[in-house]
């Protein structure tokens, strides 16, 4: 089956070539004038370090290990995320901790080390899906960069404090994962 190519019938004015060129020039000149009188901040280009794109909901960026309100880690070191991870970038070492604590309430496991190699991670969000405790979330932050490989290995502290101001909580300056629970049950 052949395709009928419809030939555009040019009028004599279009065939002179000068008139269409002038029409094209008027279009480009309109763009030029319009852009000349709009400030650079209002043009289409997002000038990156000063302006940032709005990230859509459900974006998978940098990980965060969630905390309870008292600052205790939600993660129970069940290794589900490590198993689910297709890039094998999560490595967890579990430890037992027996201090009674109001949120967790009884003797439990928690990660002694929890590290994600951000260079390996493919930001697929499988760990978030796998987590039974909603302890690991993927945030909106996409500026994950460093000068060397080692600093791209995010440890437990890094993951618990990734850009914490985005959800309203302050960034904490040191590891406050309580070895002793902050709020013991008031008898």
């Amino acid at each position: 089956m052949g395709v009928v190519v419809k030939k555009v019938d040019l009028g004599w004015l279009d065939r002179t070539y000068v008139w269409p060129v002038m029409k094209g020039m008027s279009i480009t000149f309109q763009h030029f004038i319009r852009n000349l009188f709009t400030s650079t901040a209002k043009r289409y280009t997002i000038q990156y370090p000063e302006m940032k794109k709005e990230i859509p909901a459900g974006y998978r960026g940098l990980h965060e290990l969630k905390r309870f309100e008292d600052g205790a880690i939600k993660c129970v070191a069940c290794f589900m995320c490590q198993e689910a991870c297709p890039a094998r970038c999560i490595s967890i070492e579990a430890e037992e901790f027996s201090d009674l604590n109001i949120t967790q309430g009884f003797e439990e496991k928690r990660p002694a080390r929890f590290s994600i190699d951000m260079l390996r991670c493919i930001y697929c969000g499988m760990c978030e899906e796998a987590c039974p405790k909603d302890a690991i979330w993927l945030r909106n932050d996409y500026e994950v960069a460093a000068y060397d490989r080692l600093s791209m290995k995010f440890g437990k502290w890094d993951l618990m404090n990734t850009y914490a101001e985005a959800d309203g909580k302050d960034r904490i300056s040191q590891d406050t994962t309580p070895t002793v629970p902050r709020r013991t049950i008031v008898m």
Partner: protein, 353 residues
């Protein structure tokens, strides 16, 4: 002026010449380098982008991206100067100069202002005084030489893409030169002389007496050919990112590349000065019979920069031609058109107009 000349152990004539040469060529080179910025920012605005605006002096003074010129210059200057192993070394070195020098010295005969008399001596505001016997044949001849720079650059780098680019440039050259020359010949004929000063004087100060009104077809042909001559976008066959890598300057880097790029923009300046001189009355100020010298210079600069901007403007409006399309245009459209233009004006002059 005489005192200054004697201080420098020069005769006043030579001193005046040196002053003119320095001012004209540095101005053209400066404008050419500024025009690279105009091209980038202008194209950005035409395409709803922003363009280079971040280069800053000491990391602070941005001056709407003009520091980009400095940054580019410094970068080019300190890049490694590579010459390909198999290149013809001598010609490879020579080619950028052969491209740059003709582009610049074409400006020499063009009067950029009204001549003035001071102390009984008439000073002409063009590097070569009128009556030098070359007139406007000189920029045309020099413009014809400009393709050698491209061709040599292409040939000496011993690269197939380069050679393709050079071949296309020379093929295009053959097809547009005749039409352009005939358009200019028509002006020589109606003026009765080929000296740019005469051409300007004959056009007078009234805009409807300028050559653009009398010879619109000649203008269209000449202006179109100028695009081909300057190797600029609708007709930039010597380069073509999509087809032949970078074309004739594929193997060039560092200062040699920058010289080739600068040659294009100086050529653009010379071409727009030519268009302003031939068709828009040169330094003539519209409706002013005897303009002041500075006013005439400003008028010339304004016209020249306007046409230089039109070069940029058209570049970002039109897509590229195939080079057989330019040859079709050159031989079958522009040559007959300028020929008809010539014949029509010859007939008109024979009728006593």
């Amino acid at each position: 002026m005489d005192k200054l000349a004697s201080l420098l152990h020069m005769t006043p004539a030579i001193f005046w010449m040196v002053v003119k040469v320095v001012i004209v060529f540095s101005a053209v080179m400066l404008l050419a380098s500024v025009w690279t910025w105009v091209e980038r920012r202008g194209s950005a605005m035409i395409q709803d982008r922003i363009g280079p605006n971040r280069a800053a002096i000491f990391g602070k003074i941005r001056i709407i991206g003009l520091a980009q010129l400095l940054a580019d210059g410094i970068k080019f200057f300190f890049k490694e100067d590579l010459v390909p192993e198999e290149a013809n070394k001598g010609l490879f070195w020579l080619a950028p100069f052969l491209a740059f020098v003709p582009a610049l010295i074409g400006f020499a005969v063009i009067p950029f202002g009204k001549d003035f008399t001071s102390g009984g001596v008439t000073y002409h505001l063009s590097v070569l005084d009128p009556g030098n016997g070359m007139g406007l044949l000189y920029p045309l001849a020099i413009g014809g030489m400009a393709v050698y720079g491209v061709l040599l650059a292409a040939w000496s780098s011993n690269n197939k893409w380069s050679i393709l680019g050079g071949m296309r440039a020379s093929a295009a050259m053959v097809s547009y030169e005749i039409g352009m020359s005939l358009a200019v010949v028509t002006i020589f004929m109606t003026t009765g002389g080929y000296d740019p000063a005469e051409v300007i004087k004959a056009q007078g100060h009234l805009p409807w007496a300028w050559n653009i009104v009398h010879q619109p077809f000649g203008f269209i042909v000449f202006f179109t050919c100028m695009f081909a001559e300057t190797n600029r976008l609708p007709f930039d066959f010597a380069e073509g990112e999509s087809e032949i890598v970078a074309g004739f300057n594929t193997e060039y880097g560092s200062m040699k590349f920058s010289l080739l790029a600068l040659a294009e923009y100086s050529h653009l300046m010379t071409a727009s000065a030519l268009v302003a001189t031939l068709y828009f009355g040169g330094w003539q100020v519209p409706f002013v019979q005897n303009p002041a010298v500075m006013l005439s210079v400003a008028s010339f600069l304004l016209k020249m920069l306007f046409f230089a901007w039109v070069f940029v403007w058209i570049r970002w409006t039109l897509p590229r031609f195939r080079y057989d399309q330019l040859m079709h245009l050159g031989w079958k459209v522009m040559l007959p058109l300028s020929m008809a233009n010539l014949v029509f004006h010859a007939w008109r002059m024979s009728q006593g107009h």
